[in-house]
């Protein structure tokens, strides 16, 4: 009964959103009545959809297994939190969540924006039709409201135990909020091109929304990396897996976009870049959805392989991308930029930045598609993985960061000027050089690209330290968000380099009450415990570790067997210190009763995520600052 109501509400909202789209484009958007009407219809449609989703949540929480999707992905033994998160653990439900967020972003924008604000009506219309496109996809090919009747199962299948994890549960919502948030910029860019009014500064309207979406995306990706690290058991944090790449591409384009939009929202430069990027970012978000859900590329993340869904999404994305690019193409003359950019002004550095990010997006896309292309031509399979991506990303990031380093010196709308040879730049270079030298001599860091990355990263951090110094001592203005975010980038580069160079691991063989040594630490298997949990049994190995100074601490990795599917998982335990993680898992048991113990020392890994948090933090602060300035 309830599920039929939810489905009905969803169908109804589809119709209303479509109505909204029609009104916004058929009638004069400058008319007060039309503007208010469109806004109202959007509000009502979104209320219908939100109610439908809330009913669905209730269905999941109340163990209504007559709903096929809930029966497949939830179980009465799950804690309530995981019953809710099971909704987005697979295709149909996560699509529903995607649409919910789409609706909510639009609703929030609708609510806080004056109805007569330029472009509002048209952009709400565009958002509405995009929602309709996804709702039809949901209802026609991926219906979460399907029922198993007349006899509903007594209980659901347990969801993959690997999915019963807090970080993993919130990772998709953050990501979706990120992907979808860019619909606001996209809709405005299209509306702007359609309206043809060249005096509207649509960039200023959507800037904070885009930064917010970027923050969500950054956090979402970081959560995924962190989760993979502690859950998957082998200590990696990024695998260049196709689905990770497909999340990375919108992030790269989005980063370029928020830089580009900061320029074009205030001046007449970079307008073409900004519009192009707004289309590219949103298209890449949709492209990501397509790749993950069509089954076209194998990946640990892939949802079910279904060509019908793939074709629909492909058509939908095709219309969207080709349509918006056609509009862009035809309006190109209207988008003539302002005055020429001065050599090595800040604007020109941001253009260069756009180029770098654009090439990285292209390279990632190439890497994802290449195996498919190669196979089509040569009828043979190849894989493109970390060696390729590292070879492209590391040198280009280093090069881009050198440009960043110089850009700090650059002026807005003015040429690049160096007054004297001894300045913050040359001193930074000197200090960075000495840091690298000491890294090489004292800490024995020998990897070429690691050293280069440390040099580039230090260049940036030290240069910005000078900026802070200048601000504190001479009251010289600086953009604090840029300072924090870019220092975060510098830290990211250094952390990745050090993590790569210094980390190590080994597979030890330890029997109970025995110990072994690794990296100056004594590792003793003190105890083996049996733990019974509601949905799994586990063997817990208790290790006593003693550091070189004689301090003891305990690590308790486990091997678990889940009842519902008989799945066996390995749970890691990690000891976190400032500079490194000590990471332990147990492998198999040998004939003599001893255990294989995998121990890893992962250096600076928390610093990698901390850098990402720094960047997100600067984004949040920027939004707060912009909003304050507006009042």
């Amino acid at each position: 009964m309830l599920v039929e109501i939810a489905q009905f509400l969803t169908i109804l909202s589809t119709g209303l959103f479509f109505l909204n789209f029609s009104f916004s484009f058929l009638f004069d958007s400058k008319d007060q009545h039309i503007a208010n009407l469109v806004s109202k219809i959007y509000t009502h449609s979104s209320l219908l959809l939100v109610t439908s989703f809330l009913i669905y949540v209730w269905l999941a929480v109340s163990d209504n297994f007559s709903v096929l999707y809930i029966a497949q992905h939830s179980n009465s033994n799950l804690p309530i939190f995981y019953k809710i998160t099971s909704i987005w653990s697979a295709h149909e439900g996560s699509m529903f969540l995607w649409i919910l967020f789409l609706v909510l972003w639009g609703a929030l924008f609708n609510f806080v924006t004056d109805n007569l604000q330029d472009l509002k009506v048209k952009s709400m219309g565009i958002i509405s039709i995009i929602i309709v496109g996804f709702l039809l996809f949901l209802l026609l090919t991926s219906n979460p409201f399907e029922t198993i009747l007349p006899i509903a199962p007594a209980n659901g299948a347990d969801i993959n135990p690997v999915l019963q994890d807090p970080a993993l549960a919130i990772h998709p919502p953050f990501l979706y909020m990120g992907y979808i948030g860019f619909v606001i910029a996209f809709a405005h860019a299209i509306a702007f091109m359609i309206e043809g009014n060249s005096s509207v500064k649509w960039e200023a309207l959507v800037r904070t929304w885009s930064i917010a979406a970027w923050v969500f995306l950054t956090i979402g990706i970081t959560l995924g990396s962190w989760w993979a690290y502690y859950e998957l058991g082998w200590g990696g944090y990024w695998f260049w897996d196709p689905v990770e790449n497909v999340a990375l591409m919108p992030w790269l384009a989005a980063t370029a976009f928020i830089h580009s939009i900061s320029v074009s929202s205030k001046s007449s430069s970079l307008r073409i870049w900004t519009i192009l990027l707004s289309i590219i970012v949103f298209s890449l978000s949709l492209f990501g959805a397509f790749i993950v859900r069509s089954g076209i590329i194998d990946s640990v993340h892939s949802f079910a392989n279904d060509p019908e869904r793939g074709l629909y999404l492909l058509a939908f994305i095709g219309i969207l991308i080709i349509g918006s690019m056609t509009i862009f193409s035809s309006r190109l003359s209207m988008l003539t930029s302002g005055s020429a950019i001065k050599t090595f002004s800040k604007e020109s550095f941001i253009s260069i930045n756009n180029i770098f990010f654009g090439v990285l997006v292209f390279s990632t896309m190439l890497g994802i598609l290449y195996p498919l292309i190669y196979e089509s031509i040569y009828e043979q399979k190849i894989s493109v993985g970390a060696p390729f991506y590292n070879a492209i990303f590391v040198p280009m990031t280093v090069l881009a960061s050198i440009f960043l380093f110089f850009s700090v010196e650059a002026r807005w709308q003015r040429k690049f000027v160096i007054r004297s040879l001894i300045n913050s730049m040359s001193i930074s270079a000197l200090i960075s050089g000495s840091l690298v030298f000491s890294a090489y001599k004292i800490f024995n860091i020998t990897g070429t690209w690691e050293l280069i990355s440390i040099f580039a990263g230090s260049l940036i951090i030290i240069r910005y330290l000078f900026v802070i110094w200048d601000y504190l001592l001479n009251n010289k203005y600086s953009n604090p968000f840029s300072v924090i975010a870019h220092m975060g980038l510098g830290m990211l580069m250094i952390s990745i380099a050090l993590n790569n160079e210094l980390s190590s691991e080994r597979a030890l063989n330890i029997n109970i009450n025995q110990s072994d040594m690794y990296q100056g630490y004594e590792i003793k298997l003190s105890d083996l415990k049996l733990v019974n949990n509601p949905n799994h049994d586990s063997v817990q190995a208790i290790f006593t570790l003693t550091d070189p100074l004689g301090n003891n601490f305990y690590l308790k990795p486990e091997k678990r067997k889940y009842f519902a599917r008989g799945q066996i998982t390995t749970e890691t335990d990690i000891y976190v210190t400032l500079l490194k993680d000590i990471y332990i898992t147990i492998g198999d048991q040998l004939k003599d009763g001893s255990w294989i113990v995998n121990i890893q020392f992962n250096y600076f890994i928390r610093w990698i995520w901390f850098s990402a948090i720094m960047m997100s933090f600067s984004g949040i602060m920027l939004i707060v600052s912009i909003n304050r300035a507006k009042r």
Binding site: L232, G233, W234, G236, F239, D241, P242, L270, W273, S299, V300, S302, S337, A340, I341, K342, T343, S348, S351, I352, I355, G358, V359, F362, L366, G367, Y370, P371, Y374, I377, Y378, Q380, K381, I382, S383, V384, G385, A386, P387, F388, I392, M396, S504, R506, A507, L508, L528, L530, D537, V539, K559, K561, I568, T570, G587, D588, Q589, L590, K591, I596
Partner: protein, 124 residues
């Protein structure tokens, strides 16, 4: 009780006998091993390297790699050994041959092209 549970877990692991660990004569070889298993794909998994997989065939290949390292084989010889049995697609490095020239050369070429175009136009 623990023994019984271990046995249960053990048997369900499908990995009946591990009679050797990864033993190396020096640290350099150990590092080589851990790097190699990151660069070689697990042939059975939809995605992931040998390092990230504990499928039986992955374990077998890892043990074989240890053996080959002990025999003094170089990294490229080891990779060739595995490619001969499991195909090119088991390497994450697509190699540099006429089928992949475009892959490796396109990114840097486009970067240079874009940067030079930019420096000679400076209007966008």
């Amino acid at each position: 009780m623990i023994k019984k549970l271990c046995l249960v877990i053990l048997l369900s692991c499908n990995f009946l006998f591990a009679d050797s660990l990864y033993e190396f004569t020096n640290l350099e070889n150990e590092k080589r091993f851990y790097n190699l298993i990151k660069e070689i794909r697990c042939p059975k998994c939809t995605s992931g390297s040998l390092a990230s997989s504990n499928a039986p065939v992955s374990e077998d290949i890892k043990l074989k790699i240890v053996e080959l390292i002990k025999e003094g084989k170089s990294d490229s010889e080891i990779k060739k050994y595995i490619v001969n049995r499991f195909g090119n697609e088991v390497l994450y490095d697509p190699g540099f041959d006429k089928g992949t020239y475009f892959l490796w050369i396109a990114p840097i070429s486009i970067l240079l092209l874009a940067l030079t175009t930019f420096f000679f136009r400076r209007k966008i």
